[in-house]
Point group: C2
Chain length 410, copies 2
């Protein structure tokens, strides 16, 4: 039990949530490691926080001696350079705001105030979902609320984790690479809000990975250094693909959206294979899911389903609402789970469906029992939110964690 | 039992052998499907025929009514366009030779003569080794002998199977892509003979493939149509890589040879993944072999071993003679065969060797029993050869197969 320090005033406390996002035009490769500036633009779909979110509480007080942070119940080293970048940039904006003579919106924007940060994910770390985007987006959003900072914060979130900038907005979001050396023009922008395409559904197929793959930070460094195909992709393929993807989203053209999504996922993994030594994120289950999707679409002679794979084993499936029940049934057929199917599907409810023998034959894969652990059924959702209900704070009124478990939930 | 037809004269019979070759700068993609003209140059090592070869007997006679062909004991359709291309081109050269007034070198260059062709491989089809290169090289070489045609024949072999042109020479061979529309400058040339680098050794790790992968002909068509990375590779990467590879071979610089070989294999498979729908030739065993090689080299802080994968599951390993015993032992440790090891290694004898615990730990893979069926130990070898011993003919003096088994020898 950590005891509260001597306090001179009650801490100012805010709690916010932020979403995970899945890139459909992938980000891979930095042109500046410190500022986290990418070699190409990217575009993502923000996932709904009802299924996947990070919650962060920030407390600021003159009584705190040092900045501290607790992540999933465990105290983390706050001196990590990327955490420090976010803290420094938020304080710089707060100072700028004060120097510009704007009235303080809260009583707590004192720049000498130290912060306590407490953050949890509502999904297990073991799911292998990249939590750094939601985590840094939530951190920056919460800090900004606490210090009374407004305006676009994606450029600060970017300095925590590149893809975090895209989690600062809901719906369909592009990260414009920018050209400036100081990175001021490398920011995220909403292309369309989540309400724009209500039929779009997202299924995260959580794979049972045996080995931990190489991390994205060091992976993309090696790719930038060694892959000539990545350089060509960044310079000559992505700009055109961004234009096409934005148009597909704006027109809600699922066939175009699906094709670019799959091609871009494949090309990202191709550049990983062109890296030296090569990086493999796709395993045999991933390959089977890719075959399954192409044969499923081939059977119906239209792109009803698209896959996307990040720097890990999970498949993210995009489809339209009306195709979800059948496709989920197909996945369940070819990756039969040990469970009776109740626990297999999490998130948005999925209706039961039958699948025809013709479809099974058209797909024609050998079933792989337990190849997929479970499915998270979700959709596009909003950007970061403020939680007004103070009972939801992760920090007590004294500014210390309400409960310290010492290990990850899950 | 096929009975000989009525004969008016004894057939003129020749028997030749031709080698398999393994590309270290890969050929993938045609700019002309009929003439088989590639979108980039390539470079290969010709494997020794003591381990892997095709043997072909050609008989020509005025008494034969039609051209016929037997492949591994089974009669094949001679009207296949690529077979017809080779036959037509050899007859054209024979006619040209006669019209140029050169004396016939044999009594049998009559252009009205029909041919009987009989061909066998000394390796099982099930080994998954691309037999078309050796097969077409042997066919063209044997036909040329029978019809008394001389000079470079790689341009004709190319029209049977692209990579067959490289099997027309021994040692280290480049296929120069050429620029002409008629393909006359798209030919193979020997870079160095097999005697140039006697320490070089080649291990074919024959994998146990479950599914037959997509064929190279249709695979490369789809890649040319859909992969933007393949276009970039052909135009901007391969020319430079060819120069570097030729220099590495000339200088017997194994480290450079190994690095280009591995990078080029990876880039070829990257373009397969960038193909839409994507093509996978590397399975989980391939991925493990790639990891194993990089960790093996990493342990010794030098490139002692290189891998190369074609459009199939087999790994081809290049190394120097002194490293063969240990590396084979490493492969046997991480891919333990059911057999006691006697049958595991075929071809050139491999001495026993011990491996250290440090090395095993440095590689640190989970062993995969029976991931590799067996190893063929071989080296660089000569180009096609004439077999003078008439007892080796696959056709009887009457021009029909000595024995028709009706199935592959396997």
């Amino acid at each position: 039990r950590i005891m509260p320090e001597e306090t001179t005033s009650r801490p100012h406390i805010v709690t916010c949530t932020a979403p995970v996002n899945i890139a459909v035009v992938k980000y891979w490769g930095k042109r500046d490691e410190d500022l986290i500036l990418p070699i190409s633009s990217s575009l993502s779909v923000t996932l709904h926080q009802d299924q996947l979110k990070t919650t962060t509480t920030v407390a600021i007080s003159t009584s705190f001696k040092v900045d501290r942070m607790w992540l999933n119940g465990k105290e983390e080293d706050i001196t990590h350079p990327r955490l420090q970048s976010c803290l420094r940039e938020i304080r710089r904006l707060a100072r700028k705001r004060r120097n510009d003579g704007e009235p303080d919106s809260t009583e707590s924007t004192g720049l000498s105030h130290k912060v306590h940060i407490c953050s949890v994910n509502n999904f297990p770390t073991a799911a292998g979902l990249a939590s750094s985007a939601a985590g840094f987006a939530c951190l920056v959003y919460s800090l900004a609320q606490a210090f009374g900072v407004e305006g676009d914060l994606s450029g600060i979130a970017r300095q925590g984790s590149g893809s975090a900038c895209r989690s600062m907005y809901g719906g369909f979001v592009q990260w414009i690479m920018g050209n400036r050396d100081d990175g001021k023009d490398s920011i995220a922008q909403q292309v369309e809000p989540e309400s724009h395409w209500p039929e779009l559904r997202i299924l995260v197929l959580v794979a049972s990975a045996k080995r931990k793959p190489i991390g994205s930070t060091s992976g993309m460094q090696t790719s930038v250094q060694t892959s000539v195909l990545l350089k060509h992709r960044a310079e000559s393929v992505v700009p055109h693909r961004m234009d096409k993807m934005i148009k597909a989203v704006q027109k809600r053209d699922f066939a175009a959206f699906a094709e670019i999504t799959m091609k871009d996922s494949n090309q990202f993994h191709a550049t990983c294979l062109d890296t030296y030594p090569p990086i493999f994120y796709l395993n045999s289950v991933s390959q089977q899911i890719i075959h399954l999707v192409h044969r499923y679409n081939g059977h119906y002679r239209e792109s009803r389903v698209a896959y996307s794979f990040d720097a890990g084993p999970n498949a993210v499936i995009f489809t339209l609402q009306q195709h979800v029940p059948e496709f989920v049934r197909v996945v369940q057929h070819f990756f039969p789970p040990d469970t009776n199917g109740e626990d297999f599907i999490k998130g948005l409810p999925v209706k039961g469906a039958a699948i025809s023998e013709e479809l099974k034959e058209a797909i024609g894969l050998e079933p792989t029992p337990n190849g997929i652990n479970y499915i998270i059924s979700t959709k596009a959702g909003p950007g970061p939110c403020i939680i007004e209900d103070s009972s939801q704070h992760l920090l007590s009124p004294d500014g210390f964690p309400k409960k310290v478990t010492g290990s990850n939930p899950s």
